[in-house]
Amino acid sequence: MFRAILIAVLSVALIGTGVFAYNEHQEKEALAISHENNYQKAFHQLAFHLDHMQDELGASLATNGVANMNGSMAEVWRISSLAHSDMGDLPMGLVPIDKTEEYLSNVADFTHDVAIRDRAEEPLTDDEYEQLETFYEQAGELSGDLRTVQANVLADDIRWRDIETELVANTDPGEGTAIDGIQQIDEKAKGFGENNWNDDTGFPVDAEERLANVVEDKEKFDEEEAVERAREFLNVPDDTNADISRLGEGIPYEGYKIYIEDPDGESNYAMDMTLRGGLPTWVMQDRPITETNISLNEASEIAADFLDERGFDDVELVDGKQYDSIGTFQFVPTANDARLYPDAIIMKVALDDGDVVGYKGADYLANHRERHDLDPELSLEEALDEVHENLEVREEHLAVIENQSGEEVLTYELYGTMNDDTYQLFINANDGTEEDVKRMQGAEPVYDAM
């Protein structure tokens, strides 16, 4: 009797466990499948979007009418962005497919620029038309290759989950696999990048490279001199403990990483400095800042004094924000009354004791130089004519900014209001082009204030 009950109980338990395990398994399976489905979707969408991108690029080549072209340009722009985002959804974080993404990005930038401008006044130049043709051919190649990979994936029933597992396990993708195929596509895209259309500015795009040019001929600082220079910059006593090492070689200039003890207490300053010229590129201090004892205004003056004492001439505060007990400021140098935004310096001041706890001067160091072309051809009144009539302009400055193609342009920086919003506009001071319009962000409500 007892035995029969035991057997019954155990049987029920066993079946129960079985059912439970089965359910668990099913759930996991379902999850894995949905995961796989997302990858599959992204991959097939990518192929689909590349196909369509090519179609639309072809259409835009053939179009004569401005209105039609607007449509296809905008469409290419949209599709290239979608394709770019599809790529982002594939588990490719571990393999370099960066060139394909870069290609898509270039197409998007180009078509966006062309789509938003008024081509009745500014038709496509010959160069641009040629560029469009190149994009068209390249899109054709990419989409052809990708379709081949896609066919393999479908024929061999390849699972992205398996690819992912292989990638994580770091096994080498064999020839003919999907990863291999995609990597080959990327190789091809690398070739496209070599005649990159937006790379011909002459002025290195990368701030790091510009800085490398600036410090090229400056005198070398050895470690001791660098530490001395750092102490001086931070205004700490000569005997403060310091630790110095070299920066890696991936940066176009040589540099030091320096840690200096804060004489007040336990915290460290961390900073990077160029080896040539001994120029601090950034500084930060790590310590908890909980109290607020001084105002943002005082802090901004402390930051301004700090810059003044270190020989940054004619800098103007253009933005200051308080985040609890921290003040963050942006300063720009001015020349001929123009604000030089590419040369901006960032300062951070603790509002408990007014210490400077952050500095970033890399952009200043890389970009600051004498600009010769700071006389606007347009008068302010002429620039104001370019502004939307509903916008009430309330403040104006001259400013040098880097526009969306990465070129420096002299602009009128205008602040105006429309309804309850404040807008910042940059109107090219030489030809009246609207270089940029931004709605200024308001404060962020504290949503959990209830």
């Binding site: 990858y39 770019h84 985002s85 959804d89 588990p91 571990l94 960066d98 060139k99 993404e101 870069e102 270039n106 992912e164 396990a169 770091n170 205004n235 700490v236 920066l247 890696g248 991936g250 940066i251 990483k257 990077d272 590129t281 950034w282 930060m284 201090q285 790590d286 004892n293 001084i294 105002s295 943002l296 205004n297 005082e298 901004s300 402390i302 200051g320 924000k321 308080q322 985040y323 963050t328 942006q330 960032i346 951070k348 408990d352 007014g354 210490d355 706890v357 952050g358 952009d363 309330r394 309850d420 404040t422 308001g442 404060a443 962020e444 409500p445 504290v446 949503y447 204030a449 209830m450």
Partner: protein, 321 residues
């Protein structure tokens, strides 16, 4: 960094001064010059007082943003002051003389995210006494008027939206914020015009910052602060890089991009430091010096990652391009 002792002393003096004077004057404005970007009680008072006379018609939120700035400038222009958007002593004195400010009432509404406005038609009889020197306002007739008013004459103009009387303050208007304890909810049924807020960096919402803080905390907790800033900077560098998606969200959730996302550590509650690191990075700090990748050489599995050029090493992480 420099002369911190000096600043500390200066701070002591300022704080002492604020406490001392403020109590004497029975006013809440501290001695600070208030400028754009500031947050806190002085800004609340400034907004409330400007609203009282119709120079500010937006939400009282304690953040000196653009609309407060324009309000201050209009006011300065109307009263023949230097138009610089800075709220100094002269402006504060004038505001104190011509407007009323029921600090407790406003602060409480702010704390409780209550809906209310602070136009100058509040019946004052149940308050213990007139505040500031607000004699002139009492007889002004309320009129519904939301305009921020470029044309406001020197006499404080009443604008309106009735407002429930403030709950009885238990003490004099204090010099310090938050003097009031619990107060019963009076029905405040005007439009939502008071809400606590904070500064957000241009181009990012607080939710963006939160997600980034989650990622940074998941990836770099236990690392030095600059290492956390560097991780946040890498996320931002990627958004600027044509090889990566264009938003922080997409970069973070790109499959296999970050281990903390893959293993779910991104869902840990980040600490304040991670948040601050994100803010620093958004505001332009980049200890990685432009890197788009980083890895822990002890745990990294991908051969490929080791082939990248190293920018810098911070803590356990190597930053590369």
């Amino acid at each position: 960094m420099e002369g911190s002792v000096r600043y500390f002393l200066a701070t002591l003096i300022v704080v002492g001064g604020v406490l001392g004077f403020a109590t004497d004057r029975g006013e809440a404005f501290s001695d600070q010059i208030i400028q754009q970007g500031a947050t806190g009680d002085d800004v609340v008072e400034l907004q409330a007082r400007l609203q009282y006379i119709g120079y500010f018609d937006q939400t009282i939120d304690g953040v000196f943003g653009w609309s407060t700035y324009w309000g201050v400038r209009e006011y300065q222009e109307a009263f023949g002051m230097e138009v610089d958007g800075l709220v100094g002593e002269q402006l504060k004195n004038r505001l104190e003389e011509t407007t009323e400010y029921d600090e407790q009432h406003v602060q409480e509404a702010l704390e409780n995210a209550r809906e209310f406005t602070h136009y100058g038609s509040t019946p004052n009889e149940i308050q213990k006494g007139p505040k500031g020197s607000g004699e002139a306002e009492e007889e002004q007739a309320p009129e519904a008027e939301e305009e921020p008013s470029g044309e406001e004459p020197p006499a404080p103009e009443e604008t309106a939206d009735e407002e429930e009387p403030a709950p009885e303050p238990e003490a004099e208007e204090g010099a310090q914020p938050d003097t009031g304890g619990e107060q019963p909810d009076e029905g405040q049924d005007d439009q939502a015009n008071v809400q606590k807020a904070m500064n957000a960096p241009e181009g990012y919402s607080d939710n963006d910052i939160q997600i980034m803080a989650n990622a940074v905390y998941g990836e770099a907790r236990g690392e030095p602060y600059e290492g956390m800033v560097a991780v946040a900077a890498v996320i931002i560098n990627r958004t600027d890089d044509p090889e990566f998606p264009d938003t922080a969200n997409e970069v973070i959730f790109e499959p296999r991009a970050f281990t903390a996302v893959a293993d779910g550590q991104i869902y840990l509650e980040p600490d304040e430091e991670a948040r601050e690191a994100v803010l620093d990075a958004i505001n332009g700090q980049d200890p990685s010096n432009g890197a788009a990748y980083y890895y822990n050489p002890e745990t990294a599995t991908s051969e490929w990652i080791f082939s990248r050029d190293v920018h810098t090493e911070i803590g356990k992480h190597v930053f590369a391009d």
